[in-house]
Symmetry: C2
Subunit: 407 residues, 2 copies
């Protein structure tokens, strides 16, 4: 990876992503395989005014060995100090950058049940922290860089898969231009327009239909708000939580989902792949599901808790977005979710309900916002997807035709 | 690094080093540059019965950027969760393996005062944990593997410095043989003989002399015990804290050191080099010191606390040890301290006083055992070193002549 491009990359993440403020602390999740990336982020962070830049390292390969050899009980124990290390970020007002490069098949031969049990225990132990992230208690941003194993999955026949994947990531991030910051300001404004239209129309239901067989009504939460790329954190400072991002998204009503939805792209979850799956809903609950690949992994997601029986996010993305246009299957939700309309099993973002970050858990539930320890996006947008908005007075407006914005 | 040799290496560290017991947890300190080493250690650990293997990653290059850009105050703050993460190892009875590969010049352009202030704050915050380590509250082992930057310092003119350094490390670890475990059992027995001789003689003073100008009387603590490679942890299980190790060592009396001592090898401390230095003692206290290189770093060590004005360890190593024979300056204390007789500024190992792990801090001080947040070995053994033992009745025995055991 070219150092000059990495510096532009890091600058974009600090300025548009977490919107680093002078004197703020930064924590960065990074794989040990991307040590030079962490080095660039550390230096750029300080140059832009960070007080302290800490790296929290991870490594697929030792994580795999842990899953392979250690007992579920040992893996599921989350020490008090680890929980405190996450809460420390909240208390000290750090921002958090996750530089993801996970091999989507890293854990493919680990039983889904074991992965699920560990993931569930960890999510439960860290709920206070993940609630903070989901309600924008701190500013955060998820981005990606290639790892060898991931790049080889995306471009199995390429001589230099890591370089190729990095080039494609740079394009999806709209970094291949003279002034990426300005470019992003324009992109944010464009997406805000779509969100404004949807907010003004205040639809009660979205009706999704396509040739895969998807035919589902997704009710929207009371006082739901459509958000797009840029959000406001609790401290009033704006930030962009995903780079790239192409989505305009809101909060479904957890009791008003009826019909059947088919996946449009494979889902990479916990180092495993779930593909060609469907979910059937009745009054907001998943009452049936199937999967040609990764059924056990899907089962473990759905059986996590009460909230993983419903959904917490509905997001709209046009098929002409740079990611969708690339035609590349990234096996990575950050990209694939931005190539396709998606829903998410599990917890709703409180900020997708009006004043949601100030509402209690009970008040959010009453509005229809789902709660869970999980939040798993899955892609449902096909090139022939039609989405119709239905207002309280039963009048309709076509929002998407042939997989693209119709407004 | 050859995987097969790394596996033998890891097996030696688990069996002879920390003496891993079935169902025990392991924490490994490792640089992100040595991820494959961590991978081998993780797998071998599980195969030998570990319950859980955790890696605590470090990276010279981001640590350097932290020192370069962050304020001392921000770096010196040790979060409560970090202290708890260390104490967790004690509570859960983990063993700890440190795989060191630090570039000895990593922090050479950082002011010694800043490094010293941060190091002092961290040592103070982690005193409970370091006391536990030094009194063998948990089993631990320090070993080394090459990093690129370190290897280039040791072999600046070699085409493959990392391979060359790894080969040399393997030799110093006595791994280049058919049965390293058996080989180590013999080595341990041989060193025990020297320790036994010294314990039977119960010397009151050691008198060191050489042509550099060293002429110093080092009084030994009341009830001091000479230890060698293998020690006993609090749980009664034997272990070897350093691999390689060639030293037979004991506890000096912190008020009975008089004379002047010259360094025999450069000292690598906190990513800086201190070379050609001398220390002058009166009644146990350093009253004068000089250094041709790294004076500020030496000053910051000595000024850490009351205890860094005296010494806490006296160790004897013959000049025919494999490390000394290699003639290589490793710029790494693990190796260089085992090439040469050494003393240590700072805290004494409580286990070098009879029943010391059961004595209170006050009782240890009364025996003459020094206390400090620091423990820094420095090398004083030259090829012409003479060490004479002086008993309570003033009778003498020559222990070392011409830098080698004379007993």
């Amino acid at each position: 990876m070219n150092k000059e491009i990495l510096e532009k990359y890091a600058e974009l993440v600090y300025k548009i992503g977490v919107n680093l403020q002078k004197g703020q602390g930064v924590e960065i999740d990074c794989s040990v395989e991307n040590a030079e990336v962490a080095e660039v982020f550390t230096e750029v962070g300080y140059k832009l005014g960070a007080k302290l830049v800490n790296i929290r390292w991870n490594y697929d390969k030792t994580a795999y060995l842990n899953y392979k050899y250690a007992e579920t009980e040992a893996l599921a124990e989350v020490p008090e100090w680890f929980i405190k290390s996450k809460e420390y970020l909240m208390e000290k007002g750090f921002c958090r950058i996750a530089i993801d490069s996970e091999d989507p098949f890293a854990f493919k031969d680990i039983p889904a049940e074991k992965l699920g049990a560990v993931s569930k225990a960890r999510s439960k132990a860290l709920k206070k922290y993940s609630d903070c992230i989901m309600s924008n208690g701190i500013r955060w941003c998820v981005v990606s860089v290639p790892s060898k194993a991931w790049a080889e999955k995306v471009f199995p026949n390429d001589a230099h898969p890591e370089d190729k994947l990095f080039d494609e990531i740079i394009k999806t991030m709209r970094l291949n231009c003279d002034n990426p910051i300005k470019n992003w300001e324009n992109h944010i404004a464009e997406m805000d327009k779509h969100a404004k239209f949807l907010n003004e129309n205040a639809f009660e239901y979205l009706h999704y239909e396509n040739s895969l067989g998807t035919d589902i009504y997704v009710g929207l939460a009371d006082d739901h708000v459509w958000l797009s790329a840029q959000e406001e954190a609790k401290d009033g400072v704006k930030f962009v939580a995903n780079i790239p991002t192409e989505e305009v998204f809101t909060c479904p009503h957890k009791e008003k989902i009826n019909g059947k939805v088919y996946s449009a792209l494979p889902l990479s979850y916990n180092g495993q792949i779930i593909d060609k799956f469907s979910l059937t809903f009745k009054d907001g609950k998943i009452v049936d599901y199937s999967a040609e690949t990764g059924y056990d992994a899907l089962k473990s997601i759905i059986e996590t808790d009460e909230g993983t029986l419903s959904i917490g996010e509905a997001a709209l993305i046009g098929k002409n977005s740079p990611i969708a246009q690339s035609g590349i299957l990234f096996y990575n939700t950050l990209f694939d979710e931005n190539a396709s309309c998606h829903l998410a099993i599990g917890k709703a973002y409180p900020t997708t309900v009006r004043n949601g970050d100030k509402l209690s858990e009970k008040e959010l539930l009453e509005k229809g916002a789902n709660d869970s320890v999980e939040h798993v996006d899955f892609m449902i947008g096909t090139p022939d997807l039609k989405v119709t908005g239905i207002r309280k007075d039963k009048s309709e407006a076509v929002i998407f035709t042939d997989g693209e914005w119709a407004i």
